[in-house]
């Protein structure tokens, strides 16, 4: 109650900040990159499917485009794992795990799904990866006391993404 009151005052008339300074990148964590990476994996699989359907012959153009889609899929599946690993390793504290007992299992699930996305071209797996990362993002923002909302990404593949509701 007192905190909320002072926080409101602070928003209107900001108090001075005292830095409990750490080496970079202390305090800068955001699951957005992991979500974007998961979305990219889905998009690459969609593009790969479209290419197979639309490209009659498997000529050099076909192979060139396919190779590029696969490379980006690989890269972003790994990036997704990396971003989640950083938050899990550097930001998540024992009290967060206590409050959200699913956290370790969820992180492990993301690692496994990320690898499966590299190994296969399953769209279902990629969507499952995004859903797991969305849940991770939801927990992350909750630990910061920030509400979230779910909305379709305004670009292809237009899948549902968790966004923080920032004032």
């Amino acid at each position: 109650m007192i905190y909320e009151l002072i926080e409101k005052l602070d928003r209107r008339f900001p108090f001075e900040r005292a830095k409990a300074h750490c080496d970079i990148p202390c305090g800068i964590y955001d699951p957005h990159h992991a979500q974007l990476a998961a979305l990219t994996v889905i998009r690459m699989i969609d593009l790969m499917n479209e290419l197979v359907k639309e490209h009659g012959q498997q000529d050099m153009e076909f192979h060139n485009s396919m190779a590029r889609y696969i490379a980006v899929k690989e890269q972003h599946a790994e990036l997704c794992k990396h971003e989640v690993r950083i938050i899990w390793g550097d930001y998540i504290k024992p009290e967060h795990v206590q409050k959200y007992p699913e956290l370790h299992e969820l992180t492990n699930k993301i690692m496994k799904l990320g690898s499966k996305c590299r190994q296969t071209t399953s769209r279902e797996t990629a969507v499952e990866l995004l859903q797991a990362v969305n849940r991770f993002a939801e927990i992350f923002w909750e630990t910061k006391g920030i509400a979230t909302k779910r909305a379709k990404a305004p670009y292809k593949p237009e899948e549902e993404v968790v966004y923080p509701v920032l004032s």
């Binding site: 007192i2 905190y3 002072i6 602070d10 900001p14 108090f15 001075e16 900040r17 005292a18 830095k19 409990a20 300074h21 750490c22 080496d23 202390c26 305090g27 504290k93 009290e95 006391g145």
Partner: protein
């Protein structure tokens, strides 16, 4: 004599966390000197207003060595001692975010 400040950063985690508020004052120093373990707010020429825990004091020179509790804390191990004159005050009240 009394100042309310908000904490940014995690170098004093888990006791002091980003978003917490603290009231700092110089009044306690009227009744006693700075002691190891005190949490103080001070001005640093490069980093600006900082909050750290006092590790040790050198009464002869007025120097104070400060540390954070986080392994990556930027403190006296990086920038050396701070001078007593740069101290804004000691934390006398701590309001946690949650």
């Amino acid at each position: 004599m009394i100042k309310l400040v908000k904490i940014t950063g995690q170098s004093l985690y888990p006791v002091y966390q980003e978003g917490d508020f603290v009231v700092v004052s110089k009044i306690p120093f009227l009744f006693g000197s700075i002691r190891p373990g005190d949490v103080i707010v001070f001005k640093h020429p490069v980093y600006g207003l900082m909050i750290k825990r006092v590790e040790r004091c050198v009464p002869q020179t007025g120097d104070v060595y400060v540390v954070g509790t986080h392994g990556h804390s930027i403190d006296s191990r990086r920038f050396g001692a701070i001078h007593r004159d740069d101290i804004v005050g000691k934390v006398v009240w701590h309001l946690k975010k949650r």
